[in-house]
């Protein structure tokens, strides 16, 4: 059992999300940065879709009421146990019953992943444990909540240390495909998109990241049609909205770009005020 002493700013439970429910308007949700979350799970020999804690900004403080192993991945943080022992990142770490873990601040990168041996055992809803604002009663963990754990491996061999891949945290280049309405953009608009740096705004969250500068927009709105995580919409006022994991399933703004799968993970790790540059990968399929 894990007790939440302090929930942090926005700690949520995530697994790989919900599938096959797009026609019910149910967002995919799931890990913002799939790659990092999967590394954390893999290092504990957890299955790929295992539920873990996703932390951001200021992480939570948790008390463990049973011994287990944990593993961090994702953003650069400096978690400590019982106010004295540093917890290494990308390494299974033994936790004793009664240990208090403070995740702390996220220095580089936006999301860290705290996997626990066996995974967090909450009641799944629509086949997923992912918390999501419009879908589950809670969208983040709360003070004094308790979470049960699934049974996991009991011991881990030492020295499986994985070299921390900072590329995903520091890479400023975001690879994109041309979106369905990209063809309506004129040359100056395209030039701005690919020659200009964009800044991630503070109002970004699990649903969408907003970026600046704005782009002069004369495109007509489209009929409401499906959108995906990674779709970049251009609003009538010229704002660019990068849809993320909790995004709605359909939208009426022109879909000008689409992030590659890897780029969504990289984008997820951008803190507010980070700079990004788009790099066009062309049409997504070789044969076209």
């Amino acid at each position: 059992m894990i007790e939440v002493l302090d929930p942090g700013i926005y700690t949520s439970i995530q697994d790989s999300g919900r599938f096959g429910l797009y026609s019910n308007g149910v967002p995919k949700s799931g890990y913002m940065d799939h790659q990092s979350a999967q590394i954390a799970n893999l290092l504990l020999d957890n299955k790929l879709h295992t539920a873990l804690f996703e932390c951001t900004s200021l992480g939570p403080t948790l008390k463990f009421h049973q011994p287990t192993h944990i593993c961090f991945s994702g953003a650069l943080i400096s978690p400590i146990v019982n106010n004295r022992t540093e917890v290494p990142i990308h390494n299974p770490f033994k936790i004793n019953s009664g240990d208090i873990l403070s995740v702390g601040y996220h220095f580089i990168g936006n999301y860290s992943y705290l996997a626990i041996s066996g995974g967090i055992n909450t009641k799944p809803f629509l086949k997923s444990r992912s918390m999501s604002r419009s879908v589950t009663p809670d969208f983040r963990i709360k003070k004094n909540q308790f979470f049960e754990l699934n049974e996991g491996k009991v011991s881990y061999s030492k020295g499986v240390n994985v070299k921390l891949d900072r590329q995903i945290l520091t890479n400023e280049s975001i690879e994109v495909y041309a979106g369905q309405e990209f063809k309506h953009l004129d040359q100056p608009q395209r030039k701005l998109l690919f020659n200009h740096e964009f800044k991630v705004l503070h109002s970004s969250n699990r649903i969408a990241y907003l970026i600046e500068p704005k782009i002069k927009n004369n495109l007509k709105p489209i009929l409401s049609n499906p959108v995906l995580p990674g779709t970049i919409q251009l609003t009538p006022s010229g704002h660019l909205i990068v849809l993320m994991r909790d995004c709605q399933t359909s939208g009426g703004y022109p879909r000008i770009l689409q992030l590659t799968d890897d780029a969504i993970n990289i984008m997820a790790q951008k803190q507010p005020n980070s700079k990004i540059k788009f790099k066009l990968k062309g049409i997504p399929l070789e044969s076209r």
């Binding site: 599938f19 096959g20 026609s23 489209i222 409401s224 709605q248 399933t249 399929l285």
Partner: protein, 230 residues
């Protein structure tokens, strides 16, 4: 049975997703054709998720598409081969209670004033129509409905509300609908329904589906109390 000939186009959204696109307009014939073709695709294509909007189907696959041209040819052939097959939509009609009174109908008075109609007339126009469910999207369980009387077209609020409660019935532009979950929202709220479109006991088989029709019928606050489950 399709007397209409539609020209389909395709777009590779990601290596694992494509859209099939109809002409971009809101049309009942397109809806029927989309629903017909979705049924066929589900039988013939291995997919992870298939959804639609007003004028397109999105297919998401578990694995990357190996050959886009081959896939679109396959889909086109399937479309050509099946478009003359008999298909009859069997829509169900759903009656949904709405309380058009305060404290729920917070924008009804304003709307009535600006449209130069009495609130009663608005309620009448709003509840005397069979709306068609085009698709579910935007929010979990949210219906995109067709059929709002043009007399009731009314622009979205300039300043969207931070929170509109689940069950709120609103009008925004040429659309009307029910907020299925709590959400920020810019529609003008004219009523409230106790009918739940999405909650923790969600079961889509007990809810209207695309192609079905829904009707709103007015209830007063006393009747509303009888519906509440708490």
């Amino acid at each position: 049975m399709s007397k209409n000939k539609f020209h389909l186009s395709f777009y590779p959204v990601t290596p694992t997703a494509i859209t099939i696109n109809w002409e971009e307009k809101i049309s009942y014939d397109i809806l029927v054709d989309i629903l017909r073709f979705k049924k066929i695709l589900k039988k013939h294509i291995d997919f992870m998720d298939m959804s639609h909007g007003f004028s397109s189907i999105l297919i998401q696959f578990a694995n990357p598409i190996l050959n886009f041209d081959e896939l679109t040819r396959e889909i086109e052939l399937l479309y050509e081969k099946t478009k003359r097959l008999r298909f009859k939509l069997k829509p169900q009609n759903w009656k949904i209670p709405v309380c058009y009174q305060m404290p729920y109908a917070i924008d009804l008075k304003d709307m009535a004033q600006q449209l130069n109609l009495s609130p009663e007339k608005i309620i009448q126009y709003h509840s005397k129509v069979k709306y068609t469910v085009y698709f579910i999207g935007f929010l979990p369980g949210f219906f995109y409905l067709g059929g709002l009387n043009p007399i009731l077209y009314f622009p979205r609020r300039k300043n969207p509300r931070k929170r509109v409660g689940a069950g709120s019935v609103g009008i925004g532009g040429s659309q009307t609908g029910i907020y299925s979950v709590n959400s920020p929202g810019g529609w003008n709220i004219i009523g409230y329904t106790p009918y739940r479109l999405f909650d923790q006991s969600y079961n889509e088989t007990k809810l209207p589906q695309p192609g079905d029709t829904i009707e709103f019928f007015p209830i007063d606050q006393q009747e509303l109390k009888n519906y509440s489950h708490d």
